[in-house]
């Protein structure tokens, strides 16, 4: 009970009209003359309207409550910070080192706030004028009689967990001061966050605005910085499998951070992340943040093509022996060089390596080298391999394309079917419905309730046996074992029948090759080349299909990557074919 502290509260008591207040244990005011306890609590009064203290107080729950349970005052960037925080936590649970969250992602985010002039800069754009305005407004408000601590010293604890410190949010128009926003009901029609409306209107040149997909760009940048064993396609697959918060990530905001109106457009997503989009975002963000050269990707890094190729060879059930060939292709094309692989946002503007796609493309090239994939040679080689295996049952079996195709086709079709079914059953809607304004609120909640009731009714009609046991996250999507007859494993099969000795070295029996593309698009159309499925052999289509499904990318992207590797591999031939493009598609190796 502290009468001294309660002095700032100058309102008359609603019961006895006296102005004589004390504080209860819960920090609420009570009238010392009639013992009437108010709704107002000490924190409400004392917590500063000045934004620079607000993040510090999030976790302490010491934020002012607005009238009518409207929740805290919060800014859009805080929302993104929450999402990033939860995503980082999820990554930590997936086995990523904690430095990613506490050091890398945190400093990227800090840098972002700084670069976008939202915080961590001495003189945030457009804030000085507004601050005085806020100050004036504060003084006019009798409710907020506390002394604004404008320049309160910065808390230097920058751990993301405790929330970063914000200097102030930039660019709130003069006629829209935050204090008013926090009080007047009219303003709250537009958004739950303080700056939601303004944020969604903001279009400033040179500033990369935060969006929900960009949170993944931040995650991936951090993963890349740490050289973690998660590729971009893995990350996005984990998102799709709900191991990393993304869709409805706002559900994890504290109860008091209310979202509605414009916040809906900012935080609600109705699509899974798209590889190309996130990739583009990642480069944008890295360039915007002006990040230095990333740690080098050397041969012992997971993202090095040699290691990734090994991983993907295992994943798609191809013989381990192929690894020798992939390494050779990597060497010949120079895509294993440190300088090529390392991301340097400043030096190599707008470009980096799609490690996963590239590794898979190398495997496609090797398959083409071995089997030509013209819907003919691969099958006749398979006949040879089958006869050989029939006659030499004691030996290590030779790899036959046909058998592999049959196994893969079946497994892949089943997998894809399951994937499609799971997607069709995905439930997008949050238990916390988003609405446009307070008027819609009850409708949105009633609708939700109705849907839940109906869902209960229909789930009663479904067999009670649990259909899908939730899979744990794994970088592998397929599991091949020797024991399973339906899914035989080809890892141990040899390539003997496909290679011939020439002098000291081995050389592929097949000496033909066809290029996936003859023409590369000019730079202005943004893609490398086009992929018209029907122009290609069925085997090639099949391989592109399973590989692109594995990475959840469009087949055309993989086709482009294959073409790029071929361009490097057959540099000389390419320049020749340019001179005489009408020449046969097939070119001879050696």
């Amino acid at each position: 009970m502290d009468l001294e502290e309660a002095k700032e509260f100058k309102e008359r008591c609603s019961q006895c009209a006296a102005v004589s207040w004390g504080l209860t244990d819960e920090g609420k005011y009570y009238c010392t003359s009639c013992h009437n306890v108010t709704e107002k609590s000490k924190e409400v009064i004392n917590s500063s309207v000045i934004p620079n203290t607000k993040i510090n107080t999030i976790n302490r729950g010491l934020r002012k409550k607005r009238k009518h349970e409207k929740g805290w005052d919060w800014y859009v960037c805080e929302g993104f910070q929450y999402i990033l925080y939860h995503q980082a936590e999820a990554l930590k649970n997936l086995g990523v080192g904690s430095e990613l969250k506490d050091e890398v992602l945190h400093s990227f985010w800090k840098r972002y706030l700084q670069k976008s002039k939202q915080a961590y800069c001495k003189n945030p754009v457009n804030t000085s004028g507004r601050k005085t305005k806020v100050l004036k407004d504060n003084l006019h408000c009798s409710d907020w009689a506390s002394e604004p601590e404008l320049l309160s010293g910065g808390d230097t604890d920058f751990a993301l967990e405790s929330g970063a410190e914000f200097q102030s949010d930039a660019q709130i128009p003069k006629d829209f001061p935050i204090t008013k926003a926090s009080q007047s009901g009219a303003a709250s029609v537009c958004s739950g966050s303080l700056d939601g409306v303004e944020y969604s209107l903001r279009k400033e040149k040179g500033i990369v605005k935060m969006t929900v997909p960009r949170t993944l760009a931040f995650c991936y940048l951090s993963l890349l910085w740490q050289r973690e064993t998660i590729t971009l396609s893995d990350l996005l697959r984990f998102v799709e499998e709900d191991h990393i918060p993304y869709i409805n990530a706002f559900e994890r905001f504290p109860e008091e951070m209310k979202l509605y109106g414009r916040d809906k457009g900012i935080f609600a997503v109705e699509s899974w992340p798209d590889y190309e989009e996130i990739y583009k975002n990642m480069i944008e963000v890295a360039t915007f943040l002006d990040l230095p050269r990333f740690p080098e990707i050397t041969e012992d890094c997971y993202l090095h093509p040699n290691i990734l190729c090994m991983k993907y060879l295992m994943e798609v059930n191809l013989p381990d022996e192929m690894h020798g060939l992939t390494c050779q292709v990597v060497k010949m094309t120079g895509i294993g060089e440190v300088d090529f692989l390392t991301f340097d946002p400043i030096a190599k503007m707008k470009k980096t390596v799609k490690y996963d796609v590239q590794a898979v493309a190398v495997i496609v090239v090797v398959l083409k080298l071995l089997f030509l994939l013209d819907d003919n040679l691969e099958w006749s080689y398979s006949d040879l391999a089958e006869t050989y295996n029939e006659e030499h049952k004691e030996d290590k079996p030779q790899f036959g394309f046909r058998k592999w195709y049959q196994v893969m086709k079946k497994t892949f079709d089943e997998k894809k079917q399951k994937w499609e079914e799971a997607r069709a059953k995905y439930s997008w809607k949050s238990g916390k419905p988003l609405y446009h304004s307070h008027i819609d609120k009850s409708v949105a909640y009633k609708r939700r309730e109705m849907v839940v009731n109906l869902q209960k009714q229909f789930s009663a009609l479904v067999d009670s046996t649990p259909v899908v046991e939730k899979k744990g996250p794994s970088s592998f999507q397929f599991n091949w074992t020797e024991e399973d007859i339906n899914r035989p494993c080809f890892h141990e099969h040899t390539l003997q029948g496909l290679l011939v000795k020439k002098g000291q070295s081995l050389k592929t029996k097949n000496s033909l090759y066809w290029l996936s593309t003859q023409k590369f698009c000019k730079s202005y159309c943004k893609h490398v080349t086009t992929y018209e499925e029907s122009n290609f052999s069925l085997s090639y289509q099949f391989i592109l299909n399973i590989f692109s499904f594995l990475l959840r990318i469009k087949t055309s992207i993989l086709h482009e990557e294959v073409s790029l590797i071929e361009k490097k591999l057959f540099k000389k031939k390419y320049s020749e074919s340019k001179k005489n493009s009408s020449r046969s598609k097939k070119i001879r190796r050696h």
Binding site: E270, P433, A444, M450, V451, L454, A460
Partner: protein, 450 residues
Amino acid sequence: MSDFSEQLTKPVTEDEQVETSVSSGTGMHFPWLQKQLETVVTGGKKKKDFAQTTSACLEFIQEALLRHQWQRAAEYMHSYLQTLEDSDSYKRQTAPEVIWKLGSEILFYHPKSNVETFNTFADRMKNIGVLNYLKISLQHALYLLHHGMFEDADRNLSQAETWRYGEKSSSQEVLINLVQAYKGLLQYYTWSKKKMELSEFDEDDYAYTSKSQNMLSQSCKTSVNICALIKVPGVWDPFVKSYVEMLEFYGDQDGARNVLTNYAYDEKFPSNPNAHIYLYDFLKREKAPRAKLISVLKILHEIVPSHKLMLEFHMLLRKSEKEEHRKLGLGVLFGVLDFAGCTKNKTAWRYLAKYLKLMLMESHTVWVQEEWNSRKNWWPAFHFSSFWAKTDWKEDTALAFEKAYVAGILLGKGCRYFRYILKQDHQILKKKIKRMKKSVKKYSIVNPGV
């Protein structure tokens, strides 16, 4: 009505009319066009995954329904319900109807479902999006009727009948009428049950009077319920039929005639053969003059030239004195036999044989020629091939005989059908065939000399 649904109503009457699928006027359906149009609507923007997965979900449900996998359908239905919360407001408004259709289908067949589940579902769906309230109520009532729950259905309809929502759109008004009319139909059902009971009583019995009093009040209610609907253009056969039956029972012949005439002749109503049949049957019961009957059947002839009443029509025309009617009598018979379903109609053939002879005897050769000209290219193969001669003779000699006679007259005695029948040495028909041969020789429109 809960305020929930009130909040949901927005002026969507125009939207309601919009079919979700693209169908051309002829009832043809282009599923591929729909997909193309969707991309046009979104302005080439990528469809959101939400839209993609829910439409995939819909396909899975439809497939499951098609294969009677109710359990699987219910499983997907669970996810499909989220379309009620679609952020696209147009889709959100059309969702309840789709969900009602799919859900009621699943609940109708699902082994674990029962009337109670269905009722809960229907009641919930009625209150999502007001615009479906009446439609769902009506279908709910039909479901209950299907399960023999007569009283519940009646209660349901009464509830729907009194339901009002602000300014009714015109489409809703028809629905209210329909709800009332179905209620009327249920009352008619009770009424006709009572009528059956009544027929077992003696007229002087005390019970008879009270019963018939009861019935009278019933019929009053019914007529009120039905008569609003049947003023609206549409096909209301069962309603009209039962309404007329009641009117006739209470001796209101004029009322019944008015209803039927209006139903048959009002131009706003869609062309409906039954309307004319009902009117004809009524007039026949009333012993109306021949001219009147002819005029009713003439319209039916235009709509359904192969209707079985056409033979009756022919008889009426035949008895008429008017030249024009007698000529039409010939056309009617030809018209009936143009249809594959009537090729073995013995009566029609007999009438035609007789009438042809009569016409030719009265030297109306031109009339016969006129009808024959448009048919002479295809009737020989259609009716008078030697294949038909063989089968007809095997199956029904009398039919073959009539047909042979017609063939002889129309095609001459050289015709295959005629010759085949002639060749059959049939003991009983011997005389008849001989007579036919003679008559054909005399009347055939084909001049053997040419």
